[in-house]
Amino acid sequence: MPDSPPEDDVNETVAAEWEADTTPFERVRTVMKRAYSPLSAPEIAERAETTPTTARKHLRTLAENGFVDEVPAGGDTTRYKRSNESLVLEQAHDLLEETDRDTLTSRIAAMRGEIRDYRNEFDADSPEDAAVHAENIDPEALREWQTTRRNLNIAKAALALGEAEDTVQMTEAL
């Protein structure tokens, strides 16, 4: 029996299969899709199974397309993160595909109510505020507050996006 090839390791196998299934550009894009804090090109290259030179080339393209933001990191180094605007639009589009505007409208009202309840319950304006000022607070409750706040804002963006798309091009002449 020859020595087991390294492909037998599940971590090696999944990386090799991902590399075989995709182009370097697709992998850099996938890594950056959820890169919410800035990463260096070598860090991105390692995660995307490619070289820093190739990663930088694709990062420039993704920056030109508005998918990532370039973040100056001192000297002549640049770090990269997912663009907030691009992320909000991605999630807003997904909500418009997955649900309808009436549902969005009623859920926005309900989530606003939940946020009001959190504020009253923890006597704080924000979960960050509550974490600083309240003692023995359930961290899961604060996480739920943060999650609902985030999804409320995305739902509001989705509704606004849908309304703008209705009227931005061909409003009927009066």
């Binding site: 599940v10 991902w18 890594v31 919410y36 985030r150």
Partner: protein
């Protein structure tokens, strides 16, 4: 009491649940795994992704993976089946002696959180794409073997 509270706090996931990450995990897993059907527990404000599996490991007739993934890339990946067996791969701050970093594994049959039971996680790679692929491989191996024995092993022993 106070000590307990701070212990629990140190074991919590960091950051809000990331709806986009749950969608990505679902898409990768469904692409790889014919038995899987994933849905968010709430399409607008989800707290987890539920992946229904049409069959379970060994005698179990069905199973489910429940995934929470945060904007800080912390996660819980929880397997539970119709025979009441549970296990979980996690990434979050912890003080388990076997965990050399934030990654760790709560073993079957009850996803034990006892310090002496918790193991190092075999999922070394980071990022939704590779973690979802690794989860699918580990589940498939255990499903094929009809056994939980190797489910947290990166390499099969000879």
């Amino acid at each position: 009491m106070e000590e307990n509270a701070s212990r629990e706090a140190s074991h919590s996931l960091r950051g809000p649940t990331d709806r986009g990450a749950l969608c990505d995990f679902r898409d990768v897993f469904e692409e790889m795994e014919p038995l899987a059907d994933g849905t968010l527990d709430d399409i607008i404000d989800p707290s987890e992704l539920n992946i229904q599996l049409d069959d379970g490991i060994g005698a179990a007739e069905s199973a489910r993976l429940d995934i929470d993934w945060t904007t800080h890339n912390d996660y819980n990946i929880h397997y539970t089946d119709a025979d009441g067996r549970d296990l979980r791969w996690d990434l979050h701050p912890n003080d388990f002696p076997a965990a050399s970093d934030e990654r760790h594994f709560h073993p079957p049959p009850n996803a034990s959180s006892d310090s002496e039971d918790v193991e190092e996680s075999c999922i070394e790679r980071r990022g939704i794409e590779l973690v979802a692929r690794a989860t699918q491989k580990l589940w498939r191996k255990a499903y094929r073997d009809e056994s939980f024995t190797g489910i947290n092993r990166a390499v099969d022993p000879p």
